[in-house]
């Protein structure tokens, strides 16, 4: 099982064990680090919104765009929106985490997403044109990554899943790309 580590090589060349192990067809959830990473990102967004809203309200008050009669209502509305965003930032990542899963098999990649509007997307292995594995700064801190798979499709030309552990993302990518003798062309 120590073989797995060698699958992390920078050039992305995984060894057979790691590659095969990844494509076992088992349904997996995201890395738990996904939740705090998303939360931090959302909180940053909320902070930005608060700053902008406050600034906007102050400017509107000073410039009399909103008559002072309406000001309390405007503030209340802004506060409600901010509260909603706060709730989203705190709780939504966990909900998303519970509703996202994926599986990799000989047939390709299957991603199950969605809380209210749910979807299951199948990308056949042979249809993958190229892949990206990317990490934002927050993701880097938690060791997770986003895997984007590109196809020749129109609506689904890019299929992505965020919150995979980095080594697994690499292993999946290597497995999906080395599917055969060609480039699908």
């Amino acid at each position: 099982m120590a073989e797995h580590e060698s699958g992390l090589a920078i050039d992305g060349a995984a060894d057979e064990d790691a590659a095969v192990d990844v494509a076992d067809g088992a349904v997996r959830g995201l890395d738990p680090g996904f939740v705090p990473a998303e939360q931090i990102g959302s909180w940053i967004f909320v902070a930005v919104v608060v700053v902008l809203a406050t600034g906007g309200l102050i400017v509107a008050a000073k410039a009399e765009w909103i008559p002072s009669f309406w000001m309390p209502w405007a503030i209340a509305a802004a506060a409600a929106v901010v509260l909603l965003l706060c709730w989203t930032a705190a709780f939504w990542p966990r909900i998303e985490y519970r509703h996202t899963s994926y599986l990799v098999s000989e047939l390709g990649l299957e991603i199950r997403k969605g809380v209210v509007w749910r979807s299951r997307v199948n990308v056949p292995r042979s249809r993958i044109q190229h892949t990206d594995v990317s990490q934002g700064p927050i993701q880097r801190r938690y060791g997770i990554a986003t895997l984007v798979v590109h196809t020749a499709g129109t609506e689904s030309s890019q299929v992505e899943i965020s919150g995979l552990p980095l080594d697994r993302a690499h292993a999946i990518r290597d497995f999906l790309i080395n599917w055969g003798d060609g480039d699908g062309v």
């Binding site: 199948n122 299929v159 062309v185």
Partner: protein, 496 residues
């Protein structure tokens, strides 16, 4: 070396010698720039009341034309043994090697002026990518012949107007077909809208002598005369629109011919501007049989295809996709599909209807949708608008009913087909080997009804105006469909 092989074929060949664009390219470049830069600017300058951006476009004319001239001067191409090498650019020099094997087709475009000079615009398209590999504006007919002879040595074809006579003609449109098509397509309205748009943009709709004259006359008339005039105007306007549409169709699709040459399908048409486009069979991703009410009146349908890999040039793209087979007799349509792409044949398939609750859901959705429109119209605009919208609710219900009854999906020997529509009906098919991504979607409403929808994504989707998106399937059926599609797609190898 390479030169030896070249010398074998044609002793007088210009093998290995660099050739340039036809001299008239200069004229066409200037002409193009005049059209896009000078004329709008002139229109504004002459007619506009106020200041307008387009005046400043004229200033761009000089540098853009200068670039065009430089480009013409620097484009050189030559033929290698199995590739074409194109050089271009003065400051940024570019050399592009295109192996013949990668070239899928050579498409031509000739308008009146091109024909006067005996030249055409040439595009080389390759298997993948969204840009043509090479574009030559313009080349002489002889140069095009030579290019064709070298790139596709096995098939010979002279100039745009002559398609190999021995090739089976799949579809040919005569004048009567074009008139019918003009009626169906109803381009008149779109053209008038476009003209009005341009006029508005250049402030031509403001107070002019003509409009004041009209205003004066109209205010002089009695109510009865006005009513008579309006009643008279409607059929006259309608007739004008029809004439416009038919004229457009005749100009665009004159002498339309769809021919099968080996593995290629070739389309040629056009009265003033001749277009010759090629569609390699294996590049067809998706096929749709499209049928509106007007189509049905005349017992016709139209066939649209979606292809992948190739440029986005409007003229050729539209002709070879949306207008692939613009008018086909109903009973000949299925046969044409078989001729175009035998593996996509949709005759005799076993159509599976949607889930039992689909009709109820679709009707319910129509009622809710129209009710919202009615309410919105009544509140925002006027109660009369709301009332008018309310009268349309039964129509919406009827439409949903028809759609639910007609919609169905089916396995074909090599792929999947789906049909839908109430009054405008569409039947589409694709192959497993062209399926890119399969997705199952479940809205919260779906969940309540234990239904789901399945979508098949293909390359180059759009021109057909339809997609394999099967809604309102029983959950178990949808799951099975998705799983089966995933397996069969993976097994079938994708080739551009």
């Amino acid at each position: 070396m390479e030169s030896d092989r070249g010398a074998e074929t044609e002793p007088e060949s210009r093998f290995g010698i660099e050739q340039r664009l036809h001299p008239s390219s200069l004229l066409f470049t200037v002409g193009r720039n005049i059209q896009t830069l000078l004329i709008p600017g002139l229109l504004v300058y002459l007619f506009s009341r106020g200041d307008n951006w387009d005046v400043w476009l004229m200033v761009l004319f000089v540098p853009v034309t200068a670039f065009g001239i430089i480009h013409y001067a620097t484009v050189r191409y030559r033929f290698g043994a199995d590739e074409i090498v194109v050089r271009s650019g003065l400051i940024n020099r570019n050399v592009r090697h295109i192996p013949f094997a990668r070239i899928q087709n050579i498409d031509l475009r000739q308008n009146l002026f091109h024909r006067l000079f005996g030249v055409s615009e040439v595009r080389l398209e390759t298997a993948a990518g969204s840009e043509p590999e090479a574009e030559f504006k313009v080349l002489s007919t002889a140069a095009v012949d030579e290019m064709r002879a070298r790139v596709f040595p096995q098939t010979g074809e002279s100039d745009v107007d002559e398609v190999a006579d021995a090739a089976p003609v799949l579809l040919e449109l005569g004048l009567d077909d074009l008139v019918i098509l003009g009626l169906i397509v109803n381009r008149g309205l779109a053209m008038v809208a476009a003209v009005l748009g341009i006029a508005w943009q250049f402030d031509l709709l403001e107070e002019t002598a003509f409009s004041t004259w009209v205003d004066a006359r109209v205010s002089d008339m009695s109510a009865r005369d006005l009513l008579l005039l309006s009643l008279l105007a409607v059929p006259v306007v309608a007739l004008l629109l029809v004439l416009l549409s038919v004229t457009w169709t005749i100009l665009r699709l004159w002498a339309f011919r769809l021919v099968a040459v080996d593995d290629d399908l070739r389309v040629s048409c056009g009265l003033l501007t001749r277009i010759a486009a090629t569609v390699p069979r294996h590049r067809i991703q998706f096929v749709t049989i499209h049928e509106t009410i007007v189509h049905r009146w005349f017992g016709r349908v139209s066939l649209r295809v979606e292809t992948a890999g190739g440029g986005e040039d409007e003229g050729n793209t539209n002709i070879s996709r949306r207008w692939f087979a613009p008018l086909v007799r109903r009973d000949e349509a299925l046969e044409l599909v078989r001729d175009v792409q035998p593996r996509m044949a949709v005759d005799g398939v076993d159509w599976q209807p949607l889930a039992d609750g689909a009709r109820a859901r679709m009707v319910r959705r129509a009622v809710i949708g129209w009710s919202v429109v009615t309410l919105a119209g009544a509140i925002v605009l006027s109660p009369w608008v709301g009332l008018a919208a309310a009268l349309l609710i039964p129509f919406g219900v009827w439409s949903a009913w028809r759609d639910a009854r007609y919609s169905a999906w089916a396995w074909t020997p090599n792929g999947i087909a789906y049909r839908s529509g109430a009054f405008t009906r569409r039947l589409s098919a694709t192959l497993f080997e062209k399926t890119q991504v399969v997705a199952l979607h479940e809205t919260p409403f779906d969940r309540r009804w234990r239904m789901a929808s399945v979508r098949v994504d293909t390359a180059g989707a759009g021109p057909a105006g339809h997609a394999i998106r099967v809604p309102y399937l029983e959950r178990a059926v949808a799951e099975e469909l998705r799983g089966e599609l995933a397996v069969r797609s993976e097994r079938a190898e994708f080739r551009w």
